[in-house]
Symmetry: C2
């Protein structure tokens, strides 16, 4: 049996305000929930008897057994699943010292939850531990982002802080993709640095672009002859991360 108050609590996590007030977020479905259970503190788990019998979760918070019809009613998904869970958002502070010697991504006003989710998965694949987001970047604990990350949100630190002060304070070299940049496969790329990813429509904003020392270009083919104007930001992120990491792998 699930109380009205609990349903209201879960539903409040659909909105940024509810997530900020509680410091929690919602994950749904077996894959996402089971990926996050060993990584983050679970404060509530709601599931069918069948799911609980099969997976026997041990968590710090409350476990509520309910039927599928009730889960269907609570779920924010189009296709509700057998399980949903409320997790505590991990500590999201970062100091310039924390990122020394590392490759990081900085997100300058990324708006699309699907893009942020995909970028989180890319960061996870390439062993990138910090995603530094401008305060107006979409919330990483938005349910759409959580569902798209495949557990990456439990392994990659996502922090929101003004880029124009944080990036220079790290002392790391700052990179970004620009049409007039050096073809990335020919560029000298260090092991540590920050790659800035710009807004879907407007690219990297002027104050942040002014901080970029390494302007890179992902070459189209044949160069300058395609009708295409741009690559999706998550797609560009993947190619840039691969280029940085392959230099370290011989």
């Amino acid at each position: 049996m699930i109380s009205k108050a609990t349903v209201k609590w879960i539903r409040s996590l659909e909105n940024k305000k509810g997530r900020e007030t509680t410091g929690q977020f919602l994950a749904e479905g077996h894959k996402v929930v089971s990926d996050l259970l060993p990584l983050l503190e679970c404060q509530l788990l709601v599931a069918t008897n069948a799911w609980l019998q099969t997976y026997k979760p041990r968590i710090k918070g409350e476990i509520i057994e309910t039927d599928q019809a009730t889960l269907d009613r609570i779920s924010l998904l189009k296709n509700p699943q057998q399980v949903l869970a409320v997790f505590k958002q991990p500590n999201s502070l970062v100091s310039p010292e924390d990122v020394q010697g590392q490759l990081c991504l900085a997100l300058d006003t990324i708006q699309d939850p699907g893009n942020l989710g995909t970028i989180l998965r890319i960061a996870d694949w390439f062993g990138i531990h910090y995603l530094i987001c401008s305060p107006d970047t979409v919330d990483a604990y938005n349910p759409k982002v959580v569902q798209a990350t495949m557990g990456a949100i439990g392994r990659v630190n996502v922090v929101y802080t003004p880029l124009e002060t944080f990036l220079p304070a790290t002392g790391l070299p700052i990179f970004g993709t620009f049409l007039e940049g050096t073809p990335i496969h020919q560029a000298d790329l260090p092991a540590a640095g920050i790659v800035v990813l710009g807004n879907e429509g407007n690219g990297i904003s002027k104050p942040i672009a002014d901080l970029v020392q390494g302007k890179l270009y992902i070459p189209d083919y044949p160069a300058g002859q395609t009708g295409s104007e741009s690559l999706n930001v998550a797609v560009a992120t993947a190619i840039v991360c691969h280029e940085f990491r392959r230099r370290l792998q011989g």
Copy 2:
């Protein structure tokens, strides 16, 4: 004034059956419509007076001026736009001779319209002219794909044909990504070949995997030590295309 029959016609293009029967598809919004107008035959254009006055389109088919309220009613989008248009689907036949000397992508049961749209944009950026799709791959003229392609669907040929007969008939070397493959940045990659992209959940199917001569791997970092299980298929496509093309660019 727009007739009930015309509205019914436009709406029928939401479904694969309607698109197959008519050989047409629907595009919405200024960006997509104006990208496609110079590339494909437009058979109907519905727009507000303001849009028509600004852009003065010349098309073979009928132009209907209407008000925003009517467009809002007809539109398949959450945020209806000032213009929508019905285009003729381009000829979608391909012979093994057509692809000689080229780099092509083969899609083995790609299901997500967003992924197909992103892959189309990637193909466009990298000057890839043919997307060879298994018959059960999502329809490229699905409105969600069209909206995601940013005009690429007018420049890249998308053909549906059984991969198990078409791929060997080309005589081109066949590549795919596999966990046991060669790290892609160290692999010998030719200028021409076919890269197979597998289903989102199941990867490349057994009969098609058996055709692959070049097994490639996109290295995670540090190798084998990330918690991440996989990259999104469109993200993997981008890295593979970049690796093939950079070999041709010095």
